[in-house]
Symmetry: C2
Subunit: 293 residues, 2 copies
């Protein structure tokens, strides 16, 4: 399959849906809707929503049925970046190749824009059609738990608290599991749920998401060390400067690369109960690993 | 009826439910759960959840059926205060009689604690039982819209942008409608929805909530001018100091008092289709107006 064409067409589908689901830039008060859209349409890779759609198709469902969940997860991901970049958090001026939300709109509006993106995610999620196996309450709980204080936010707290300290490999794993892997796993699970996937398939995709999410973060850590700011679209070398807990810092670059390969292999083997319908998921996993080079 | 005893028993019911619905303080990572609970259990009046339960009973439903919605709204209200108090917003050190969340836990954790309270609100909302007339998707949308960028957050943005400027009475009304009245109206509507209220009752309670919410904010503005910090439990005179848009500033104290009375009367007359089952709602409206003296 032509992965580049696939990614492009998926990004377009998701961008159009996000544009439809979000209040217009001119809706009152314009400041907040400009700020929300500034961060949401900043050229993100749309990895989480693409995985969501691919998981739906991997379970022989329709991509369009997974669109509300996919867009909800992208809004949550974007809100977490907006808040993460604030001066009181990572204090980053540069994201996805341009000035961060608070640099353009001020700290107060950036806090509110993040809040609004998180809130609109649930409004968008309400558009999901429940299936025979998965009720709206279950879909809602799935999203809220992944984004909540025991997953995504737990990871951010642990990350914040680890700064400048020596962390163990286990502590680092905890941060990655919660900060990155949980949101990726849930994106994939929501896609499967939109396709009314049975328990066996949901379990397999949960394993796939877990390993893929960890692999993704390990590779991200490596890229922060090896790539330029220009290429990353965000400040390179920031992790080192902020004494962040990263794989290269804890186990070295070579061992990190081996770990990324091992995790990607685990992800691939979780997919073995699927046939050709999971080809996009397999290709996506290899594509993410290839970013390393 | 004995309103004091009623309020006390309702506060206890809500506090116990919130305690049950929230992760324990010891849940990992403890910092975030301590911060969430610090702000949530700071002795708030529980006005919004009490109104939610009273509306359920006003529609001959059970208070317990409205508890998840009621608690979700209280979590959202508390998150909005935590973020509103941040240095980049209102920069307030004092709330509900004690130091604000960021003064105790730092700005970064306060941002995350607010995020976590907003997120857990939706996890709690997922516990609501849909009724014949109102689906889970409708309940979810009701909450997300009230808390979103066209209501609660719109009011906060307009409030932020009005600081130090001369605002008209219409602009002030816009701020109050969105920042305060929308959340109060939705709390009441959710109570009615949990009781499967028909369209006529829901419409009447929506009118009641709108007027009551505006009256509440006008009175709050008056109290900021006339009361001491000790009595308010938050910094008094802050509105004047920050050149905030308030009713006393725009139309004077006496006209503000008349406006609060007029709005309360409107709220009361919206209840005339109800019998004795709406007595708590009537008493609550009078009680809120009486705070003026």
């Amino acid at each position: 399959m032509d992965l580049t064409a696939y990614l492009k067409s998926r990004q377009r589908l998701i961008d159009r849906a996000l544009d439809r689901f979000l209040p217009k830039e001119t809706a009152a008060p314009p400041t907040i809707h400009k700020a929300m859209r500034y961060s949401l349409f900043a050229g993100g890779k749309r990895l989480r929503p693409i995985l969501c759609l691919a998981a739906a198709e991997g379970c022989r469902g329709k991509a369009t049925a997974a669109l509300p969940s996919a867009c909800a997860m992208e809004c949550i991901h974007t809100y977490s970046l907006v808040h993460d970049d604030l001066p009181s958090m990572d204090n980053d001026d540069f994201r996805r190749g341009r000035a961060t939300c608070h640099k353009v709109f001020g700290d107060g509006i950036a806090v509110l824009a993040g809040d609004a993106l998180l809130t609109v995610a649930f409004e968008i999620a309400a558009r999901t059609r429940p299936t025979r196996r998965y009720s709206m309450a279950e879909i809602l709980r799935e999203i809220a738990v992944a984004a909540g204080s025991r997953k995504l936010i737990a990871g951010q707290v642990a990350d914040l608290e680890a700064e400048g300290k020596k962390v163990s490999r286990d502590e680092l794993r905890y941060i990655h599991e919660n900060k990155t892997s949980a949101m990726i796993t849930t994106s994939i699970r929501l896609g499967a749920m939109s396709a009314n996937a049975d328990a066996k398939k949901l379990r397999a995709l949960t394993k796939f998401g877990y390993s893929l999410g960890l692999a993704f973060q390990v590779i991200d850590d490596i890229l922060d060390v090896t790539q330029t700011t220009e290429k990353l679209g965000k400040s390179a070398g920031k992790d080192v400067a902020a004494q962040k807990a990263t794989y290269p810092a804890v186990i070295g670059i070579d061992a990190s690369r081996a770990e990324a390969r091992r995790l990607t292999k685990n992800a691939q083997s979780a997919l073995k109960i699927f046939g050709g319908e999971a080809e996009p998921l397999r290709e996506l996993a290899n594509y993410l690993l290839a970013r390393e080079y």
